[in-house]
Amino acid sequence: MADTMVYNYTAKDFKSDQEVRWCPGCGDHAVLSSVQKALAELSIPKEKFAFISGIGCSSRFPYYMNTYGFHSIHGRAAAIASGVKTANPDLSVWQITGDGDALAIGGNHFIHAIRRNIDINIILFNNEIYGLTKGQYSPTSTKGLVTKTSPFGTVEEPFSVGELVYRR
């Protein structure tokens, strides 16, 4: 819940002192600076943010934010984020995950987080590949894509993430 105080945050207040290790040109950089700018505009005190991530390039994100953060285990960001929010509903909980972390290994936790709908914000970085491990195909990779684990092209139809989260 945003309160009525005005905080004069800038994006810089949300930058941590850690060196950002993403490849130059990666879209992750853009997400990071967008989130830092966006949070500065919300009327939420900085200590109320909690960033929970799983594993992957996306999941390096919490280290680059000057907030409470937890880089957890592969696929389990949704479970942990649900726990954080339930234990302390006053926090603004953000889950950072990727197409592999959330939809492959984390598929189960993902659908339950959607079903439970407990006011956590999930940012899923979809680069349609397993990036950190250098190029294996993921549940959102285009059918026919040639990757390190699909030398003749994948044979599977990918997820459309938006369709997964739609509820009546």
């Binding site: 850690q18 060196e19 200590e47 919490p62 280290y63 907030t67 409470y68 880089h71 285990i73």
Partner: protein, 169 residues
Amino acid sequence: MPYKRDIYKLARSWAIPGIPGLEHRIGGLEKTFKGTVSYTPENHEEMVMVRAEKVERVANEIPDLEVYGSKSGDLLVVGWGGSYGYLITAVRELIDEGFKVGLVNFNYINPLPKNVKDVFKRFKKIVVCELNMGQFANYLRIKHQEFTYEQINKVQGLPFTVNDIKEIV
């Protein structure tokens, strides 16, 4: 400082999200003592040793090994975990029959309690009873090489019977 390690325990304290000024990030990436993520070989080695030392120091917090039956004697029966029930029954029967037998049942494996050596040296023979192929006996051989360990193993999905144990004496 949120990343500081306690001097004695070598463990980091916890800070609850929501407290102003204590913002920090925990997670799988290794960090220096100050909390900066570090990929250097030297820091890795140092941190591996600090973590190992942290585990060793847990021995300061765990209770000493308790000996049931005779505190010294001819035979020490060693078990761990859920074996306590049938081992203590067997040991009590042996004591009634006049044998000088003691029992230790380990609840802490890593690290082992601090008084293991003191307890073991008071018995002439040590027998480790396990429902597997002898992993704990081998572990004790590494951690306390100064003693000789005999072992009884049973891998039938059934617990030891009291007679299984009494047969070794």
